[in-house]
């Protein structure tokens, strides 16, 4: 029995070190009446099985959390994904959110930006500024972060295939604000593999896409060590209809692929592994979700330790952002969505999330209004400050059901990873459609159960009401498209076009070389106000385009 040894060891090492650097939010956390709330409830006997499967927060295998004090030390980042129409309008929304108490920005880009088209491209018809902000050149990015101190906040950007270009723009805006690159905190999603199977904003084929990702890992490892270079995302896989275990298995399989690709390119594991972040879905099945987050953390730690021989604990930790499940929102009886989001947010917090986005009640109808966004944020604040669940660590640990389900999800995810590897790895399994088929099958079965009433969706297939009044919607003015196209034309007219052409030609040569890191040539092009579409066109010419 290692009982007191390991506990006191953890207390002396991880816990003491954490407390000395980051004191907890309160000196003591107490119940109404004054009794102290335990930091970490433990079984009476700490046996080997407990240590192997659960351990202590902030210590391998991290089942109970990645930090020794978890949310007692610092609450999760309340990060509301937002962005629409023009950079100027989005900038106003961000400043509003910061005033309301969000602690991190999360930028939503419109689809043309996400797929590397300028706003004046014929492919962009009708989509400019719709699901996020339109960014064509550095000029738009400057407006987007006007009067927002990039040295003080962390910014998450949901951008994948052209992530390298948007990251370059962000770095240059920070430079202009006088913020050094090595002080920048934030995350780019940069997870292309899931785009092929779930989200659909791919541009290039998988192999050159992996090169761009590795270029970012390498460049940021040296220049932007605090920036999360990827957010390996199960969120969209789940939204596309996967099960909870498939979400874990497919996400970690993608993670393995990114790590292996970077190692093959000669990067040092500890140089990039600690900057890998994850992003999961928080759905309504509360207990399954809590088990899912815990299983994902443990399985990733095991993979990093056993397979990649990561020795640094920071490289073994699965840190994750979460978002409540957009696909669970209903257009019927929209206020019910507030309740759904609350349950989902509880799951994320009980599962030990590092940051959280809560969806707004009206998102099944269109873009959220400011009022709904505020309620979504208040939901997090109520959980954080009123529910008490943030005052003790991993409170559901030791529940027979939760532990069994955690084990079960880990096992199912491991089996899926093994299946993919037998099929030749993630890229091969994407190319031959194995992964897409698995997700589609789960999605179809789920939807059939809903259609047959075996799964009840309140207000949709049971407890319906007729003649509902729909709430007012936020709408993007159709004139935004023309305005944005006009702004782009003005930038093109005002810049040194000879210089832009020269820099794009240099980028092309670097891309063709197959060896060069493309970050520097892209930074140079961005500084000269080359547009996103122009830069992506060069890369399209060299890398080709992926077709489903």
């Amino acid at each position: 029995m290692t009982d007191s040894n390991s506990l006191s060891d953890w207390q002396k090492q991880e816990l003491a070190s954490s407390l000395s650097r980051f004191p907890e939010r309160k000196k003591t956390f107490t119940r109404h009446g004054g009794e102290e709330i335990q930091r970490l409830a433990l079984p009476e006997e700490i046996d080997e099985e407990y240590e192997r499967q659960l351990g202590f927060p902030g210590r391998y295998p991290f089942t109970r959390g990645v930090q020794p004090t978890m949310h007692r030390g610092r609450l999760w980042t309340m990060r509301q994904y937002a962005g629409f129409s023009t950079a100027a309008e989005s900038n106003l929304r961000y400043r509003y959110l910061l005033e309301q108490g969000t602690t991190g920005l999360s930028v939503a880009f419109d689809l043309p930006t996400q797929i590397g088209y300028d706003s004046d491209d014929p492919m962009a018809l009708g989509e400019v500024g719709k699901v996020g902000v339109a960014i064509d050149t550095l000029a738009d990015m400057e407006v987007l972060f006007q009067e927002i101190p990039l040295g003080e906040i962390s910014t998450s950007m949901t951008i994948n295939s052209p992530a390298i270009v948007l990251l370059a723009m962000y770095i240059v805006v920070a430079e202009k604000q006088g913020v050094a690159t090595d002080q920048l905190r934030g995350t780019i999603q940069n997870d292309v593999l899931k785009e092929y199977v779930a989200r659909g904003t791919y541009i290039f084929p998988p192999r050159p896409s992996l090169r761009l990702i590795t270029n970012i890992f390498q460049w940021c490892g040296t220049h932007a060590p605090l920036f999360n270079t990827i957010s390996i995302s199960g969120y969209h896989i789940r939204e596309a209809g996967s099960t909870a275990a498939q979400e874990v298995g497919l996400t970690l399989a993608n993670g393995i692929t990114y790590v292996q690709t970077a190692l093959d390119a000669g990067l040092e594991l500890d140089q990039f592994a600690r900057r890998l972040a994850f992003f999961f879905n928080a759905s309504s099945n509360l207990l399954e979700e809590v088990a899912k987050f815990r299983a994902a953390r443990r399985l990733w730690a095991r993979i990093m330790k056993n397979r990649f021989e990561a020795r640094n604990p920071a490289s073994q930790m699965l840190r994750f952002h979460s978002q409540t499940a957009g696909s669970s929102l209903t257009a019927q009886q929209v206020d019910n969505n507030i309740v759904r989001v609350t349950i989902q947010a509880l799951a994320a917090v009980l599962g030990g999330t590092q940051s959280l986005h809560t969806n707004s009640r009206d998102e099944a109808l269109g873009l959220p209004t400011e009022d709904s966004v505020r309620t979504a944020l208040r939901t997090q604040q109520i959980i954080a400050h009123e529910s008490g669940i943030a005052e003790t660590i991993d409170p559901l640990a030791g529940s027979y059901y939760i532990e069994q389900l955690t084990d079960q999800i880990e096992l199912e995810a491991e089996e899926l990873i093994a299946t993919i590897e037998e099929a030749g790895g993630v890229v091969a399994a994407i190319e031959n459609g194995l992964i897409q088929r698995r997700i589609e099958e789960s999605a179809y079965q789920y939807q059939l159960e809903v259609e047959q009433g075996e799964r009840v969706i309140v207000g949709v297939n049971k407890f319906q009401e007729s003649a509902e009044e729909r709430p007012p919607l936020h709408r993007v003015d159709p004139a935004v498209e023309d305005e944005q196209v006009g702004r782009l034309a003005a930038v093109r007219a005002g810049r040194d076009n000879v210089e832009v052409d020269r820099l794009l030609a240099e980028l092309k040569m670097a891309a063709q070389s197959g060896e060069d890191n493309l970050m520097e040539p892209i930074l140079a092009a961005v500084r000269a106000y080359a547009s996103l579409g122009e830069i992506c066109l060069v890369l399209r010419e060299v890398f080709g385009e992926y077709r489903d």
Partner: protein, 311 residues
């Protein structure tokens, strides 16, 4: 549209008319006979029909895309028939092969038609053959027929095609074993796709062995390595297709194949058209006989009846 309007549309290469005509032929619609009668058999003389098969994931659709680009680059007008299986339960089908060909959707000289196998009794051949002749009449110089998976529809395609390509890739070892039994023998050219991946050389060697006798006889290489995703190897493949096709024309293989194909198609139709009568005869002829013997009995009786009844 009236039949003569449809036929005029066909001659003018009107996409709507071509689409409608194919439906008539595929559904055995009211205008089907008149349309078939009006098709010029000579249109097939200058048409090359290529069958493309192979297991899912080997890159068949991507390769088809490469061939389309290549052939369009040479100015050929193309028809593509993409065959997917029908659900035996619902009779419906999900025809997804069009996805990778959508890039040519706006090209008036690429006619794409998705076909469900529909569990036809006479085999797919019975209808697809007519669709091929419609496309030829619509001016298509090369017609590609693509099938997914293995099974009867694949063999049907082989019968219809002048040349059959099998697309393989490293890592499909089990599929190769399964195919050696039958399909490989009727395959004319083997495309070893994903040539940039490990195992491609081994695949080429193994396949070359299977084609050794045929290649020795005429000196034509039948295994071609490609990387369809990067459009590599397409022109070599097209060269081999043209060489082999020229050879087949020269020594009469193509004529023989087309003749056999017509015979089988005719036979399929005979069985199809006799089906209602035969079924009625079977049902009116309950006998405790082994089905095979019963069939013989039926045929004999039928012949006998005919001789008895003056026309």
């Amino acid at each position: 549209m009236k039949t003569d309007e449809l036929l005029t549309g066909l001659r003018n290469r009107d996409p709507r008319a071509i689409g409608r005509i194919i439906s008539q032929v595929e559904n055995n619609g009211p205008q089907c006979r008149a349309i078939l009668a009006a098709l010029d058999p000579a249109a097939m003389d200058s048409t090359l029909v290529l069958g493309i098969t192979g297991p899912p994931g080997a890159g068949k659709s991507t390769l088809t895309g490469c061939l389309i680009r290549h052939l369009r680059g040479q100015g050929s007008r193309l028809g593509i028939i993409a065959v997917d299986p029908s659900s035996p339960i619902s009779g419906g089908a999900l025809l997804g092969d069009r996805i990778r060909i959508m890039d040519h959707a706006l090209d008036p000289d690429v006619i794409v038609r998705s076909m469900a196998s529909r569990g036809r009794l006479g085999g797919l051949c019975a209808t697809a053959g007519a669709v091929v002749r419609v496309l030829a009449a619509a001016g298509c110089e090369v017609i590609l027929i693509e099938t997914v998976g293995v099974g009867q529809s694949e063999m049907d395609i082989v019968r219809l095609a002048d040349l059959t390509l099998m697309v393989m890739a490293p890592g499909f070892g089990d599929d190769i074993q399964a195919m050696k039994a039958g399909l490989l023998e009727v395959t004319d050219l083997l495309v070893a796709n994903k040539g940039d991946q490990p195992g491609s050389e081994a695949l080429c060697l193994e396949m070359s062995a299977a084609f050794r006798d045929r290649s020795r006889a005429d000196g034509i290489e039948r295994v071609i390595q490609t990387v369809a995703a990067q459009n590599k190897g397409t022109s070599t493949l097209m060269n081999q297709i043209n060489t082999l096709n020229a050879r087949h024309l020269e020594i009469g293989i193509r004529a023989t194949r087309r003749q056999q194909s017509q015979e089988i198609e005719t036979l399929d139709w005979c069985l199809e058209l006799l089906r209602p009568q035969l079924l009625a005869a079977i049902r009116g002829h309950e006998q405790p006989l082994d089905p095979r013997l019963r069939a013989e009995q039926l045929i004999t009786d039928r012949d006998h009846d005919r001789q008895q009844q003056p026309q």
